[in-house]
């Protein structure tokens, strides 16, 4: 009973941490969030996305980045209830994040079934995930990865439960399929996780061949709608762009070194480009284990980390190591299973050039938290004096409390001020103003300094999707990205224009107001740096 109450308390805390001031911090919507929001709105109003495709099941073209469909559909009811605003876009992710915390409890319970400390371990793991800067940071933003992670964990839970109830194998693969429809990195990870899971439960799996085969058939059928997209050139274009294997510098380096080493057959063998691709992969893979990334600063991209706390808390460093080693010693099969999960979830991210990448390896969660919890339990169990045990508990809780407070303080007080520029801050204010005075102008000209202004104009104007489809001037550029240069009264420009026209509202980068024009509003970043200026002549 006490355990149940504790779990409920953890889940409520997790929920509060994920929704408190969700509309204000992070301080503004990123372009991806805006795009998901408006596409959901468009589906809601017309059944079509912003490109006019009717209920797409494979992909949302969006900016030409081909967003997976599930997050958009999940956002639809929230847009229906809350309207087009920050809360509607972010709340679904926060809810999935909260569910993930609860599922982690079930996961650990199943994983360690029959072990004596499984209850405490499960509670601790979910509590650590509830307060995890990694998970917390990402589940307060419209990041698809958080939803995908929830599906992944759900799938593992169903799999583990199927050990005792064969019928569960029918459904076990479905959440993996859902993950594939939710997040790009999950597309490569999910199938491999499925294989690992089958090996992990192999004894039971052999007795349930029928159920498993049917489960796989169901999964494959469910994958059919997205299959053409997965193998399409567009999907591969995005992949290639960020991929290390398309990096010509690696080939150049290999050739140069073979030449320096004398260009003998042996030198050509040793300094083969495949060797260098292998080393590059290893580098990007190991990047995700950089202590600085994990424990000190977190992801270098301020969208994913507040820069003052690692992806994990620093107190967790020794606990993590002890947990991994202790688990491998005491329950090798569980330890190896979790390590395989962790290891495989990094593989897709390691083929990309930007590493480490907190978002692309989000699927490694909650293995870190489980290891850490196991470390804590292991230490407590092995301290034989009661006093030392108490001392350890007090110290651990105290340090955790300190770093959690430090994290929350930094997150709520300093983070929005310091990094509002990273969140495309300014377009909301600009477009809300523009919408309020729209009738006074014939044209509204907006600079794309912050990026993709059309999506913000649609979002904050709640622009009618049909009208947008009729009036938009748009096209795809050479890299496959979608650009909108105008719709309705709006014109979007790259460079600042010289000849100003009457009855036109200009919204340009701060400092570009020409002499003689009348400023009507301006937006500053939260740290005071001028951001945008609105004017007319």
């Amino acid at each position: 009973m006490r355990k149940k109450l504790l779990l409920i308390a953890i889940i409520i805390t997790a929920f509060l941490l994920r929704v408190y001031k969700i509309n204000l911090n992070p301080p503004s919507l990123s372009w991806d969030e805006v795009s998901i929001g408006y596409n959901a709105y468009s589906i809601l109003k017309t059944g079509k996305d912003e490109h006019g495709r009717f209920l797409p099941l494979d992909t949302f073209i969006a900016y030409g980045d081909y967003k997976p469909p599930i997050p958009v559909y999940i956002t639809v009811p929230f847009v229906a209830v809350f309207g087009l605003n920050e809360t509607a876009v972010r709340l679904p992710v926060a809810l999935f994040g909260t569910v993930t915390v609860g599922l982690t409890y079930l996961l650990v319970l199943e994983l360690f079934h029959q072990q004596k400390h499984r209850q405490s371990l499960a509670l601790l793991s979910s509590a650590i995930l509830a307060f995890s800067p990694w998970h917390l940071n990402l589940s307060r933003v419209g990041f698809e990865a958080v939803i995908a992670l929830c599906f992944i964990i759900l799938s593992v839970v169903v799999f583990l439960k199927a050990r005792n109830k064969k019928e569960y194998f029918y459904f076990a693969f479905i959440p993996l399929v859902a993950a594939i429809y939710t997040f790009n990195s999950a597309r490569y990870f999910a199938p491999f996780l499925g294989i690992v899971l089958l090996v992990f439960v192999k004894q039971k799996a052999l007795a349930a061949k029928k159920q498993i085969v049917s489960g796989i058939v169901i999964a494959v059928l469910l994958l059919l709608p997205i299959l053409p997209h997965l193998i399409s050139p567009e999907a591969r274009l995005r992949f290639k762009e960020v991929n290390i294997f398309s990096d010509v510098d690696i080939v150049k380096l290999a050739n140069k070194r073979a030449e320096t080493a004398g260009n003998t057959w042996l030198a050509k063998l040793v300094y083969n480009r495949r060797v260098f691709y292998g080393l590059a992969f290893l580098k990007h893979y190991l990047d995700n284990f950089e202590p600085r990334f994990l424990f000190i600063q977190g992801d270098g991209n301020p969208k994913f980390s507040i820069q003052d706390v690692g992806q994990l808390y620093i107190v967790e460093a020794p606990l993590l190591i002890i947990g991994i080693v202790a688990l491998l010693i005491e329950f090798p099969s569980i330890g190896i299973f979790l390590l395989l999960w962790l290891g495989l979830a990094i593989v897709p991210a390691a083929t990309a050039r930007e590493t480490p990448h907190a978002l692309r390896i989000l699927n490694t969660l909650p293995t870190w938290q489980i290891f850490i919890s196991y470390g804590v339990i292991y230490i407590v169990e092995h301290l034989n004096s009661k006093q030392i045990r108490q001392l350890f508990s007090v110290a651990t809780i105290g340090l955790y409390a300190f770093f959690i407070i430090f994290y929350l303080h930094t997150y709520y007080v300093h983070y929005p001020v310091e990094y509002s520029g990273e969140w495309q801050y300014g377009y909301r204010e600009a477009f809300q103003y523009a919408e309020s005075v729209k009738d006074q102008y014939d044209r509204i000209v907006v600079s794309d300094v912050i990026g993709r202004p059309y999506a913000y104009a649609l979002f904050y104007g709640a622009y009618d999707p049909n009208e947008f489809l009729e009036t938009k001037q748009s096209g795809f550029d050479a890299a496959g990205f979608y650009n909108v240069s105008g719709f309705g009264k709006y014109q979007f420009i790259r460079q600042n224009t010289q000849d100003l026209q009457a009855k036109t509202l200009y919204i340009l980068a701060a400092g570009s107001k020409p002499e003689g024009a009348t400023e009507v509003f301006h937006v500053d970043l939260l740290n005071g740096t001028p951001d945008l200026v609105g004017f007319h002549i």
């Binding site: 080493a261 580098k283 190991l286 950089e290 010693i329 303080h409 007080v413 300093h414």
Partner: protein, 544 residues
């Protein structure tokens, strides 16, 4: 004969270690770098006059470039320079010999450790594999083939622990151990902090065996103290501390606290008491030091990139890539079944980066060279664990895995050795301050044509390179004033026809009687000769 029989594997390993350390010792890496030049020339100077370049008699702290080098390496170089003359090879010879002795020490170290652990005992070949891995280690090879202080400390560490472990059974060895520990303090800065920590870890882990015989311990302590005694004035010398401050990461408070100050301002504006408490500069210091500490457990650093170009071969880190899985498996095994020996080795790995943590330019392969040979021992445990696991496996699987692993190991070895012996000089010659030999050669050949030879101090400590390559008579050098240093005193360095100062090309006399040697950026117009780095970029320009 039976002794040779017993140790024949060991002899092979030592032979391999010696070959790798002595082959082309004077040519790869292309040197000397400035530290090597200083160590070599000061040894030469001590040999001829008993004094260093500043005229200090038998210094206990080698002032050198005001970095006050611990003196042990320099003194070890004296006999080598005496026997073989001053050259890069003779300057590096003590490092190579030390490297070989360290490989031998690792064998005995593991042989001693074996008795304190289940898993170690089971693996008969553990001492051999550990020694072999150290013999082949890119990290150890790098510093066994250049004249630098740190490597001596590593060898002393290993032997000190060998004697400690022996001393648990025969107490007289303890005195040998403390003498070794004492000598470490003469070896390298960061090891002055590491050595006491290692003593501490050892005493905690082996407390039951160690503290049986109080008398032996007191005697050993006295022996150790006597060894250290001459150094005491050096420790209390403020100049030694300047180096400490110079390399400390927390001494530059303005840069470090810039963000923190902004945060505190914001907390003040918000009247946020909690914030003022939390946004504490002490937390910034602590995080900086922890970041430094943890940076040495970066797998990317260890296995792929290394740090400073002089600390690793191009394209390589400090350990073989193929060692990674074995290291991880070894770690688990050592923790699981290592008993006291395991705890000791893990304790050693945990304290190894402590001394380097509060310094700049991290991670740092020299300041944490004391990690050696723990990585090799743990990796060896990992390798033997896998072999043990495969013993019962079906034949085809066993030989399949073996041949795959051996193939990968050979490939990895080939890759590293060609990076080291074939690529290093070409790609990294500029980091090894290449070009002086040619410059000195030129100035010697045209010595009579000029009244004065000006060498730019932008080339970094050129006087030492000229002393080294000219094998300039130390008696004459000291009579001419020796080295002057500190502040802008470097500018005053001159001997014979040579003058070392910045070159301001436009205001130079250029009377045809003065030869100028400087950076390409310093000298314009036509030149007499350009000296290129081995990769073809310009190193120095000679003009008049």
């Amino acid at each position: 004969m039976s002794l040779i029989n017993k140790y024949k594997f060991l002899l092979v390993i030592l032979f391999l270690a010696a070959f790798l350390r002595l082959y082309k010792l004077g040519e790869v890496p292309v040197g000397p770098n400035w530290d090597e030049a200083a160590l070599g020339y000061n040894a030469y100077s001590i040999l001829k006059t008993g004094k260093d370049e500043y005229g200090t008699l038998l210094p206990l702290s080698l002032r050198s470039y005001d970095d006050y080098k611990p003196p042990l390496y320099m003194y070890l170089t004296v006999p080598s320079v005496g026997l073989f003359g001053l050259s890069l090879w003779s300057t590096r010879l003590p490092a190579a010999i030390n490297g070989i002795v360290a490989v031998l020490g690792t064998f005995f170290l593991v042989e001693e450790l074996i008795t304190y652990s289940d898993v170690f005992k089971k693996y008969k070949f553990l001492p051999y594999i550990s020694a072999l891995l150290l013999a082949l280690s890119p990290w150890h090879l790098q510093f066994s083939r250049m004249a630098f202080e740190a490597n001596i400390g590593v060898t002393l560490n290993i032997w000190a622990i060998v004697f400690c472990l022996r001393g648990l059974k025969r107490k007289s060895f303890l005195a040998l151990a403390t003498i070794c520990f004492g000598l470490i303090l003469y070896a390298y800065h960061s090891q002055r902090i590491f050595a006491p920590l290692l003593v501490l870890v050892f005493s905690i882990v082996f407390r039951n065996e160690l503290f049986k015989d109080r008398k032996a311990i007191i005697l050993a302590c006295i022996a150790g103290l006597l060894t250290v005694a001459p150094l005491i004035p050096v420790f209390f010398n403020p100049t030694t501390l300047t180096r400490l401050r110079g390399t400390s990461s927390v001494s530059d408070t303005t840069g470090l606290l810039r963000d923190n100050v902004k945060k505190l301002d914001r907390d003040n504006q918000n009247r946020d008491l909690l914030g003022k408490l939390i946004d504490n500069r002490r937390l910034v210091y602590a995080t900086t030091i922890l970041n430094g500490y943890l940076s040495h457990y970066s797998l990317k650093w260890l296995f792929l990139e290394g740090d400073n170009a002089r600390h690793h071969a191009p394209g390589m880190g400090l350990l073989y890539q193929i060692e990674l899985p074995f290291l991880l498996i070894g770690l688990v095994m050592v923790a699981k079944k290592g008993k006291k020996a395991g705890i000791f080795v893990l304790g050693w790995m945990i304290i190894a980066p402590v001394a380097a943590s509060p310094t700049t330019e991290l991670p740092h392969a020299i300041r944490t060279l004391v990690f050696l040979p723990t990585f090799q021992i743990v990796t060896a445990v990992g390798i033997l664990t896998i072999i043990e696991c495969l013993r019962k496996a079906p034949m085809s699987l066993k030989y399949g895995v073996y041949s795959l692993l051996i193939l990968a190991a050979i490939g990895n070895g080939l890759y590293y050795f060609s990076c080291y012996y074939l690529l290093q000089n070409y790609e990294y010659s500029q980091y090894w301050q290449y070009g002086y030999k040619q410059a000195v050669e030129y100035s010697k050949n045209h010595y009579d044509e000029y009244k004065k030879i000006v060498v730019s101090t932008k080339l970094e400590q050129p006087h030492m390179f000229f002393l080294f390559h000219l094998i300039y008579d130390p008696v004459k050098y000291q009579a001419e004033g020796g080295t002057s240093s500190g502040g802008f005193a470097e500018v005053k360095n001159l001997f014979d026809k040579y003058e070392f100062r910045p070159i301001h090309w436009d205001s130079e006399v250029k009377d045809g009687q003065t030869l100028y040697i400087g950076k390409p950026s310093e000298i314009s117009g036509s030149s007499l000769q350009t000296i290129n780095y081995l990769d073809g970029t310009q190193a120095m320009v000679i003009s008049r």
